[in-house]
Amino acid sequence: MDDARLVERVASGDGGALRELYERFADRVFRYALTLLRNRHLAEEVVQETMIAVWKGASGFERRSQVSTWLFGIARHQAHRAHRSEAKGARVPAEREEEPDPSGAVEREARVQRAVAELPPEQREVVFLAFYEGLPYDQIARVQGVPEGTVKSRMFHAKKRLAEELKP
């Protein structure tokens, strides 16, 4: 069953379809939220809130975009809410700010993770959505709510900075 059909089934109240949607996308939404927030606890919350929002609002999905783009848009909104709540002190951040976990990773991999983590948030997001998710720049522009030119510019500066940071 394709992703869009699955969302239609979620909209009709099919719990099994929601579970299937979770299986397909939770990992990706989590990594995206982690890229935005750099906090595993908050990223987990974002996954939960995103799936709950999908359950309540799946009928709002229009086939104009891919399901992944739609989900990333919801997750982005939830991530901003989580970030704002945390900033207001409404939450108790039980863990330190997320650092890339180097366990089991080669040193170079950890260095790449650190370099990505140090990018400005909007650039980090573009790098994730393009390189990990393979989203075209017009879809990234839709997720971020900015013109395509801004996405290209963010990517240009992110790449330049990463190349400098990761010089051998």
Partner: protein, 118 residues
């Protein structure tokens, strides 16, 4: 295509996310431009490292799924099935934080159609 335009598109080409027609135009430029060739090679290598780095980050904890299910579909409490293989009706009663949702499905020749959600 100018070198400035090419440099904007190179990362998306390396990310395998550039639309085909733009990719073709980019390659047509790169073939005749040593500077952009070098940029493309470096960015392809960077892209490979980035994908590996993102993939190496651990995913969500296993309990996240259960939490989502409990807050949406709910923990199943009761299921009633009526009818047979050709046609039937089933009702599920669950428990979520906000109440006790009831959903019903009609099944005809193995295809299920949701008809009730309270």
């Amino acid at each position: 295509m100018t070198c400035d335009q090419a440099r904007e598109l190179v990362p998306f080409y390396a990310a395998r996310s550039l639309p085909e027609f733009e990719g073709a135009a980019l390659i047509a430029h790169v073939v005749g431009c040593e500077g952009c060739q070098s940029d493309l090679v470096e960015t392809m290598s960077l892209g490979h490292e980035l994908r590996r780095a993102f993939a190496a980050v651990p995913g969500p904890p296993e309990g996240t799924c259960l939490s989502v299910i409990a807050n949406t579909v709910g923990v199943p409490l009761l299921r009633v099935d009526l009818g047979g293989d050709l046609a039937g009706f089933s009702v599920d009663v669950g428990a979520v934080r906000s109440g006790v949702p009831i959903t019903g499905r009609l099944s005809i020749l193995g295809r299920e159609v949701p008809i009730l959600r309270i």
